[in-house]
């Protein structure tokens, strides 16, 4: 199937204008020794065949399960208006607004995105978007090094393991170092960042710390002592990076309120389906003082020659196409359409709607906690959570697998997500959102109760 317009006659007219007999003449610059003679690929499909093929593949995925899976990616009610507006060709088939006179639509939507996320985070400056939560967090950590001139960053083990692994990759490349702040293994604050360990690590004269990074909620769903973490970081001359989840920010204190210098995070929950990993939305926001250090595009308000309000890409001297090897980052194409999805989603829900999404998720999660505790799986930690938490299930990996057979996706075993932490080995990380139904919670609890009460032989 071809999408091009040319008829044989039109190709002939172009060839004739060029004075050549065949298009092959235009490829003669390719040395014969390395010239390819076609590709060994499956033959073309018609649109009908293609659609049947793709429907067949999509149909093999199991999306019919009762899912309690979160761990950084969350199912939410998606108002149909979000996707229908995203399908406006004028928006999704445009590119980076290099020509502002005919890109005011894209430019204003990004300015509005920056403004909406500034409201949610309490920050002054929001970048036009990054690839995802992991890359955004790594970029935020790199910012702390540029801003302080120091080369060592501390990351709480409560930050999503994929983010920490991404960190490791980015930091190795930049010849910077980082260390992980442990979580408390026991006590009332079990599972949250170990403040005493943080204090010791900040005091190490060998490694002056550029930034301290903590997640709120953490990957375990727990609320962290963010004010204390920020206070310790600042006392050591380090910057404080909060890794946030934006739906939660409708009800939780914003990063600016507890002293964060930079907020980073995953924006998927604002209007993007899970789609097995992306495209999502990397959020980076900071205080005014760090404006020259923030990577990625920024859109500013200005006026045209006649004084009419307009928007334009600004502070471009930080970017790779201007600054080349001295740029703040190599980022070029970002996730603009995902930022647009987030804006439409937030505007469609409004402050009340977003509050209700977060609050209903919290209520459903409390129901889930109670139901699972009754089934014999109490919480693993005692600290406060919003809508995600870990429960203790002996032999969690095997139980998780057997529940799958019953049509229940029972969150994720922490032994798989955090294999390095023995205190989490019996943990199952589960979450609820506003789309989790009471019936699904009852099914999960009943199946789990049956698992936990039956001897293993009987279950098989």
């Amino acid at each position: 199937m071809a999408y091009g317009p040319h008829t044989a006659g039109e190709r002939g007219r172009m060839l004739e204008a060029l004075g050549i007999a065949s298009v092959d003449a235009l490829f003669e610059a390719i040395p014969p020794a390395v010239r390819a003679s076609g590709l060994d690929l499956a033959p073309a499909l018609t649109e009908l065949e293609l659609m049947e093929h793709l429907e067949g593949l999509a149909g093999q995925n199991r999306i019919d399960l009762a899912s309690f899976l979160g761990a950084g990616v969350y199912r939410h009610h998606l108002p149909p208006v979000v996707d229908q507006l995203l399908l406006r060709g004028e928006l999704y088939t445009a590119y980076t607004p290099y020509q502002p006179e005919i890109s005011q639509g894209t430019l204003q939507t990004i300015y509005e995105y920056q403004s909406l996320l500034a409201e949610l985070t309490g920050m002054d400056v929001v970048s036009a978007s990054h690839y995802d939560g992991a890359a955004a967090t790594a970029e935020a950590a790199l910012m702390t090094c540029r801003a302080t001139g120091r080369e060592h960053v501390l990351v709480s083990r409560g930050v999503h393991p994929h983010y920490r692994e991404t960190f490791e990759t980015y930091f190795a490349g930049a010849n910077l170092t980082f260390a992980e702040i442990p979580l408390l293994a026991g006590g009332p604050a079990a599972g949250t960042t170990d403040l005493a360990a943080l204090e010791r690590m900040l005091a190490d004269p060998e490694h002056p710390v550029a930034g301290v990074v903590a997640g709120h909620p953490s990957v375990l769903g727990l609320l962290e002592p963010m004010e204390e973490i920020g206070r310790l970081a600042h006392a050591a001359g380090a910057l404080f990076v909060a890794v946030v989840e934006p739906v939660g920010l409708a009800v939780l204190a914003p990063p600016a309120a507890y002293g964060a210098d930079i907020a980073a995070g995953e924006g998927q929950s604002l209007g993007m389906p899970p789609q097995y990993g992306g495209p999502y939305l990397g959020i980076v926001a900071c205080r005014e003082a760090l404006i020259r250090q923030i990577p990625g595009r920024l859109i500013g308000m200005t006026a045209d020659l006649e004084g009419r309000r307009a928007f334009v890409m600004t502070l471009r001297a930080r970017e790779q196409d201007i600054r080349r090897e001295r740029a703040a980052s190599n980022i070029c194409t970002n996730q603009a359409l995902c930022a647009l999805a987030a804006s439409i989603y937030v505007a469609a829900l409004g402050p009340g709607g977003l509050h209700d999404v977060a609050a209903t998720g919290a209520a459903r999660a409390a129901e889930l906690e109670a139901a699972l505790a009754t089934a014999g799986a109490p919480r693993l930690h005692r600290g406060a959570y919003l809508n995600e938490f870990a429960v203790r299930v002996p032999d969690a990996v095997a139980v998780h697998r057997r529940l799958l057979g019953a049509g229940i996706l029972a969150g994720i075993p922490l032994a798989e997500l955090e294999p390095g932490d023995p205190s989490l080995a019996e943990g199952l990380l589960v979450c609820a959102t506003e789309v989790t139904t009471p019936a699904e919670i009852r099914r999960f609890a009943a199946a789990l109760a049956a698992e936990l009460s039956a001897p293993p032989e009987a279950v098989r």
């Binding site: 091009g4 317009p5 298009v23 235009l26 490829f27 076609g38 073309a44 649109e47 293609l50 093999q60 995925n61 899912s67 899976l69 950084g72 199912r75 060709g89 004028e90 999704y92 445009a94 607004p97 005919i102 639509g105 204003q108 939507t109 403004s115 978007s129 690839y131 992991a134 393991p161 692994e165 990759t169 980015y170 190795a172 490349g173 930049a174 009800v251 389906p273 789609q275 992306g278 495209p279 500013g300 200005t302 006026a303 020659l305 004084g307 309000r309 790779q320 090897e325 980052s329 190599n330 980022i331 194409t333 970002n334 603009a336 359409l337 647009l340 977003l354 609050a359 406060a384 799958l404």
Partner: protein
């Protein structure tokens, strides 16, 4: 900066009215839903987000969309960016519930459809590029570059060769190349191009040595020229133990004609929004898969998609391949974008993909031929999918610059080409028609360019003050940078810039 008159479209915040559009999408939560949270963790003041009913919201975005130029609107010959048509069936495919609703941590046995698609895409990209293995993880071309250069670094270190500190980059390269080298901890050595626009072998020979980790070559180059000396260059690079990175931004020019891995490049990235028609989205999302020859395969980021002997598909487990450079981001990658790229490849098949390149190259040469004379065409030999023209002669004769030509094109109903890039050509216009534009569109564009050249002589002020018919005139970019206003505030007057 003084703003006068009505804005083109009010912001979401200006359209907001307290109480508008409230409470229709979700059942109300229990009143005590948040009571179990400590008060100190709760937000003291609700965020000042806009309140809109749905009709107001829809009109807002539809009106904003009218202020945009796009591929769906008309010709968009933005060189290097490959603004080809984005087939609608690809949008349908990515939205199939089986693909869209799948959680990235779903167990492998529940994700077989997506895993099979990704595995097949890895195979297809390997065949197209002549590479031995492919990662789909990088989220965009620039992240693909970083992935590739970090693998180069890991390769040298694994051989105990830590002395290689330099990455050689031609001066015509995209800015992402040197920026990537810096992010990966290397020093960028800029190499001037030869007079014919190609790589200067002597300059490379002088710079290559035991400290060279890699060279980064865009082929075809950012001038739209195939690197005719590529075989000699690759030999020189490998002779000193360095690796050759190919920036695949322009792969769309040579599908089925040139396979970089088969020619000897060690590593390359793909820009699926350029070559494989995934939409540009106003600046993304893209995806930047990376292909490597077998000696770099141990270092690919994790997780790869694997096929088991029994035919089942699975994701590589964390730590399964200890030589991996690690993760570049969370989860597998921008899967929704990769679904679109896969659909495009399957719709075309091998002959269709070759025809894509044939038609793109034919269209570019046709435009170049017709524009020569009115504009300087610095490199006369056949171009690939794009070419550089220059307004130097026009500027000397009339004072009209490339920027003015670009803005006047807006009045004529076209998106301007890329301007002032590559940096190696004065007053550059980088023009890329793509394979999806009809002959009448190509001819109309040429007519407009020739018109502008005439206008520059007859009425230069008309051109210098363009655009005249766009939603706004030229913008005050200096004030935007000097007094940045980067977010809406209810009372901007109370908040002077820092």
């Amino acid at each position: 900066m003084t703003v006068t008159g009505n804005p083109l479209q009010p912001t979401l915040f200006e359209l907001s009215r307290p109480g508008r559009g409230a409470g229709t999408r979700l059942p109300a939560p229990p009143a005590d839903a948040l009571a179990r949270l400590p008060a100190s963790a709760r937000r003291a003041v609700p965020p000042a987000l806009p309140e809109l009913n749905e009709a107001t919201l829809v009109r807002h975005y539809v009106n904003l969309s009218h202020l945009n130029w796009s591929v769906d609107t008309g010709f968009y010959p933005l060189g290097s960016c490959t603004m080809k048509y984005n087939p609608k069936v690809n949008e349908w495919a990515a939205r199939l519930p089986g693909f869209a609703a799948l959680h990235p941590l779903a167990p492998d046995e529940t994700a077989q459809g997506t895993l099979e698609l990704l595995w097949r895409l890895e195979q297809d990209l390997a065949e197209i590029s002549g590479m031995d293995a492919v990662t789909l993880q990088p989220a965009a071309g620039a992240q693909g570059e970083l992935t590739g250069i970090l693998m180069v670094r890991a390769y040298h270190r694994a051989r105990g060769d830590a002395a290689r500190t330099d990455v050689l980059v031609p001066d015509s390269a995209h800015g992402t190349n040197p920026a990537t080298a810096s992010m990966a901890g290397f020093r960028t050595v800029n190499i001037p191009s030869a007079a014919d626009g190609g790589v200067d072998l002597d300059a490379f020979r002088a710079a290559l040595g035991p400290t060279t980790a890699a060279v980064m070559i865009t082929n075809p180059s950012t001038l739209g020229l195939f690197e005719t000396r590529v075989v000699e260059l690759l030999e020189m690079v490998h002779a000193v133990g360095a690796l050759a990175y190919m920036d695949g931004a322009n792969l769309n020019a040579m599908l089925g004609h040139f396979r970089p891995g088969a020619a000897g490049f060690d590593v390359m990235h793909f820009n699926v929004h350029k070559t494989f028609s995934t939409p540009h989205g106003g600046g993304g999302p893209g995806a930047g898969p990376v292909g490597v020859l077998s000696h770099l395969a141990p270092f690919l980021p994790e997780p790869l998609v694997l096929r088991e002997p029994d035919g089942a598909f699975r994701l590589e487990r964390a730590g399964e391949r200890p030589t991996s450079i690690g993760r570049m981001r969370s989860f597998v990658g921008n899967v929704g974008i990769l679904v679109r790229a896969y659909a495009y490849i399957r719709a075309h098949g091998p002959d269709g993909l070759r025809e894509v390149s044939d038609d793109a190259v034919l269209a570019a040469n046709y435009l170049k031929h017709r524009l020569a004379g009115a504009y300087v065409v610095p490199f006369e030999r056949p171009c690939m999918h794009e070419f550089v023209a220059s307004s130097t002669a026009l500027k000397a004769a009339t004072g009209v610059r490339t920027l003015d030509v670009a803005k006047r094109l807006i009045d004529k109903g076209f998106h301007p080409p890329t301007i002032y890039f590559p940096l190696t050509v004065d007053e550059a216009l980088l023009i890329e028609p793509t394979e999806t534009e009809s002959l009448e569109t190509l001819d109309a564009f040429v007519d407009a360019m020739l018109d502008i050249a005439r206008e520059a002589h007859d009425d230069p002020e008309l051109v210098k003050s363009a655009p005249h018919t766009a939603p706004v005139r030229r913008l005050d970019e200096a004030t935007a940078a000097r007094q940045p206003n980067l977010r809406w505030r209810a009372e901007p007057a109370d908040d002077p810039p820092a």
